[in-house]
């Protein structure tokens, strides 16, 4: 059948009239296969749709039936006969009338019995949902660049302290590439940020470390666990260094540089940054310090404004203590031990919401500042205590910065082991 004509069933791929018979056959086969692919796609969609509509018709008629027989036992099958346009209900049996594709226009969820939203609310193929209808919570997934399937987007991870320089550059590029979805670093004035921020932009959350029960921003969690549970933190390497020097006293043989011999797990050695990364850091620090200046300037008026309100809840007292502590420490030194202590104070009194704030003030850089402005409206609502925290963290912004450092680049200030 196929070989007699120039084409197959779909009639899309045609051989020329003067083509050889093998040519024609090849065209016909390809055309038939194309037809089959379309056929399979259609039959799948058809099946899904028709089954869903049939189910809808059945749910509706069952609902009517159970309403009709004032049911004290909701699960029993009422012995009534009910009829809708799409189906009949007769003593527990549902019969479809006609083609559900014709008789039923929408789809209800078989679980919650609410109508399904049939079009995404945003992005490709979006339609405005009817505001008067309560839809099933399962929505069609959104297909929109820069947003996820739920239409959410995230506060871009700005260049942070722990990041390598090349990462920072990449991020900046990415941001300026798409000025639409994330505010650009240059144009980002705190006041403007709020309006340009999409409504469903989410900040990064915090999580509790299972060992020390501190609240850590999720992006720092791995590094934190490295120092808290594992042995790759700043103190660990310091301890290791101490061990080595102690070891030198006992026996020179294995002490010198051979970390494994005195019990240092190999992981801690790997945690020590290579010479290269260390070389890059002074420059980075310079830049960051400049930023910090900006940042504190920015925070200064806010601080004044908010301080008075921070004194009326007990929780805030902890906070205050914390901030006072940090200030003292700031005056003294940047010793890691004290920083650690400060962090403790801070975290014990804090709730989950604190950490992103902490990050905001902790990692001052153009993009971060922007985010500060961006995230403010989110939290500004009824939580004056949160603002109190902000000030606390802001006041200790230098110390906070140090603490970030201690987790990220580990042994920056410690003597080299080997």
């Amino acid at each position: 059948m196929a070989s007699s004509s120039n084409s197959g069933k779909a009639g899309v791929i045609k051989a020329s009239d003067d083509a050889g018979s093998m040519d024609k056959l090849a065209h016909a086969v390809l055309d038939d296969l194309l037809y089959n692919i379309m056929h399979d796609l259609l039959i799948k969609v058809h099946r899904d749709e028709k089954v869903a509509r049939a189910a809808t018709a059945a749910i509706r008629v069952e609902k009517l039936a159970s309403d009709a027989s004032d049911s004290s036992t909701p699960d029993a099958r009422p012995d009534v006969k009910v009829e809708t346009d799409a189906a009949t209900y007769d003593e527990g049996k549902v019969l479809l009338k006609g083609n559900p594709l014709v008789t039923t226009k929408d789809i209800v969820c078989p679980r919650c019995h609410l109508p399904r939203l049939l079009y995404p609310t945003d992005g490709k193929g979006a339609r405005k949902p009817d505001p008067s209808v309560i839809y099933c919570k399962k929505h069609p997934y959104i297909d929109k660049p820069g947003y996820d399937i739920y239409g959410q987007t995230w506060v871009a991870q700005g260049p942070g302290r722990g990041k390598k320089k090349k990462d920072m550059e990449k991020k900046l590029e990415a941001q300026s590439d798409s000025p639409g979805k994330t505010p650009t670093p240059d144009g980002g004035v705190p006041s403007g940020g709020a309006s340009s921020r999409p409504p469903n932009m989410l900040p990064f959350p915090s999580a509790t470390c299972s060992k020390c029960k501190r609240c850590i921003l999720v992006t720092r969690l791995n590094n934190h666990m490295g120092s808290c549970i594992g042995n790759s933190g700043r103190n660990a390497s310091r301890a290791a260094a101490q061990k080595i020097s102690n070891g030198n006293g006992n026996g020179n043989g294995n002490g010198n540089g051979n970390g494994n011999a005195d019990g240092t797990p190999p992981s801690s050695q790997r945690g020590t940054p290579a010479a290269g990364s260390r070389a890059g850091s002074p420059k980075k620090r310079d830049g960051d310090e400049m930023d910090e200046d900006d940042d504190t300037d920015n925070d200064a008026p806010k601080k004044k404004k908010l301080k008075p309100t921070a004194a009326n809840v007990t929780k805030k007292l902890v906070k205050q203590k914390g901030s006072a502590g940090t200030k003292k420490e700031k005056v003294k030194t940047g010793s890691s031990l004290i920083v650690e202590h400060k962090l403790d104070d801070d975290a014990e009194g804090s709730t989950v919401e604190v950490a992103p704030k902490k990050k905001v003030s902790k990692i001052p850089s153009p993009a971060k500042k922007l985010k500060l402005g961006v995230s403010k409206p989110l939290i500004s609502s009824p939580m004056s205590k949160n603002n109190g925290k902000t000030t606390a963290a802001g006041g200790g912004s230098n110390a906070g910065g140090d603490d970030g450092e201690s987790e990220s680049s580990g042994t920056l200030s410690s003597p080299p082991i080997a």
Partner: protein
């Protein structure tokens, strides 16, 4: 751990519906296995299409014989070579075989092409086809309307009266089961066995018992969430995502396979997995997930083999996969550590899901003696470098691209030579070694060795092979199995069906070896999603197939 949602994780003892490949009839997408709607349970039996009702409802006899006949047609469609249903005979005696669908009449043995379907219906309804039916099934009230045909490629039922395909629940269930497993009987399946408790309680078999004792998860909780990157942990996220969307693991954890509330082990990774599954499939949250417990469990666990993995740096996703699999095995299994290179059988969920068995057969070239060695495997690692070089020589221009089948051929079809001490000959002899897969796992994990470990330089090799490897959505593993070596078993539909795998998830490594990033793709139902840390987006099949795959997870089409 305190807030352990008691939600969709209860149907331990009750069989709701045999899991079947393809889309479930009623219910929310992929969750039919554990979402319990009393409605859908009853509906299976009662919702009948108007015309099929005519066919089925008149008497038990008619119903049974119609179903029998439908079954027979399904056998014709699925069991033998497709040539039979694809061949039709026109009224003037011309026999044609078509590539496109034919229609098998449900009332007689005629096979017609699509164009003649209506003609056959109209004509035959007045002649012998219907009359023959009438003689057998007397009570059929309205023979002219009783026209139904079965599609020769999919087995779907076409109603001539509606002029549309109909999806009757009873017949659809038969069709799907036949298509998936090749049989109609509801065979006891491995994981069903695993999940059904020893106690068969009649009270608990009542569907109402389930619905009354279940808090339904929100319709929004569909397991699609990102996982935040906790600082260079994308290698963990991709593996976790592929576990989360693995139906076997999901069913295990959601049916209380390992309850974190009952577990005494501190920082148990399996508990962390349990919590994660609950969070993904029971909560409405659409924000990313913070895998803090997994991470701390990972840091705390002391495994010598994976010591180097535990750092704050980027690591190998494959190593993490092995780590996680072994750790979960230890928590859920017999507690023995799996030894590499030996045959290790265990009933734990990880073994049931991922482990298969490899056979290497050594044939002495001197005396012809054969030795078989069998070992368990968690994944198949396929080398790319040699093949790439071989192929690169042939294809002069452009970067060579490989196919997954070529890589598999290289490892499991070709044989190599080795030195071997033969017991018969009592001397060292040349031997031929053949590798084949003796037992296929339910989820086949394949690693493409893209990272080259150079010795001498730093501990992690500096090069990444970025050759494109094409991989299929459906993979037939029969040629690589021990049984598939006999050519006559290769034609068996049954065997081919039992060796058919569908792509489930892909882990891709993008970028260079030291600055790269892992992303993954997972399939939920028929829809693909891309997971990039906390970002979840819709993905097209072409995105998936064009990715530079590093790990591939294939799931068996039918559990036997």
């Amino acid at each position: 751990m305190a807030a352990h949602p008691a939600t969709p994780a209860s149907p331990k003892n009750v069989k709701i519906k045999s899991p079947s490949p393809g889309t479930p009839l009623f219910g929310c997408g992929p969750r039919t296995l554990f979402t319990l709607s009393s409605w859908s349970l009853r509906k299976q039996a009662n919702l009948v299409s108007e015309h099929v009702q005519l066919l089925l409802s008149n008497s038990q006899d008619v119903t049974n014989s119609s179903i029998q006949y439908y079954k027979m047609l399904l056998r014709v469609v699925f069991d033998n070579t497709p040539i039979v249903p694809q061949t039709s005979k026109s009224p003037d005696g011309l026999v044609t075989t078509s590539l496109t669908s034919n229609y098998l009449c449900l009332q007689c043995s005629t096979i017609v092409p699509e164009e003649d379907r209506i003609k056959h219906g109209n004509k035959k309804s007045h002649r012998f086809c219907m009359s023959r039916d009438l003689s057998v099934y007397q009570p059929v009230p309205c023979p002219a309307d009783m026209l139904a045909d079965v599609d020769s490629r999919t087995g779907s039922l076409f109603c001539q009266f509606c002029e549309d395909f109909v999806w009757d629940p009873t017949l659809e269930e038969l069709r799907i089961r036949k298509m998936g497993t090749g049989s109609f009987t509801n065979r006891k399946r491995k994981h069903e066995e695993l999940f059904s408790g020893s106690v068969k309680d009649t009270v608990k078999d009542d569907p109402r018992y389930i619905s009354n004792n279940t808090t339904m998860a929100s319709c929004r909780a569909d397991g699609l969430r990102g996982i935040y990157n906790a600082g260079a942990t994308c290698y963990q996220n991709v593996v976790l995502q592929s576990f989360l969307h693995n139906p076997l693991l999901r069913n295990f954890y959601l049916s209380d396979g390992h309850q974190s509330s009952d577990c005494q082990v501190s920082h148990c990774l399996s508990c962390a997995m349990d919590d994660m599954f609950q969070d993904f499939y029971a909560l409405e949250t659409t924000n990313g997930y913070t895998a803090a417990n997994i991470l701390s469990g990972f840091w705390i666990s002391e495994k010598k083999a994976f010591e180097n993995l535990v750092t704050t740096k980027e690591q190998d996703a494959h190593e993490f996969f092995q780590f996680l699999a072994e750790d979960l095995h230890e928590r859920n299994g017999d507690g023995k550590r799996p030894e590499t290179g030996s045959e290790h059988s265990c009933n734990c969920i990880i073994h049931q899901t991922f482990y298969g068995k490899l056979q290497s057969q050594t044939t002495c070239q001197h005396c012809g003696g054969v030795t078989n060695a069998i070992e368990s495997f968690l994944d198949l690692s396929l080398g790319l470098e040699n093949l790439q070089q071989k192929k690169g020589k042939k294809a002069l221009k452009g970067a060579p691209s490989l196919t997954l089948q070529e890589c598999l051929d290289d490892e499991y079809i070709k044989h190599d030579k080795c030195e071997y001490r033969c017991r018969n000959c009592n001397s060292s002899q040349q031997a031929r070694r053949d590798h084949s897969i003796r037992l296929l796992p339910n989820v086949l994990s394949i690693q493409l060795k893209r990272f080259e470990f150079r010795q001498g330089s730093r501990d992690r090799g500096s090069s990444k092979i970025s050759t494109k490897v094409q991989f299929p959505l459906t993979l037939n593993m029969l040629p690589y199995t021990t049984r598939g070596r006999d050519s006559n078993s290769r034609d068996s539909q049954e065997l081919n069906r039992s060796c058919t795998y569908d792509l489930l998830s892909v882990v891709e490594h993008v970028g260079e070896i030291d600055t790269g990033h892992y992303v993954s793709y997972c399939r939920v139902g028929d829809q693909w999603f891309s997971f990039n840390d906390h970002k979840v987006e819709l993905a097209k099949k072409s995105d998936v197939l064009n990715s530079q795959a590093y790990l591939l997870f294939y799931i068996i089409r039918s559990l036997s």
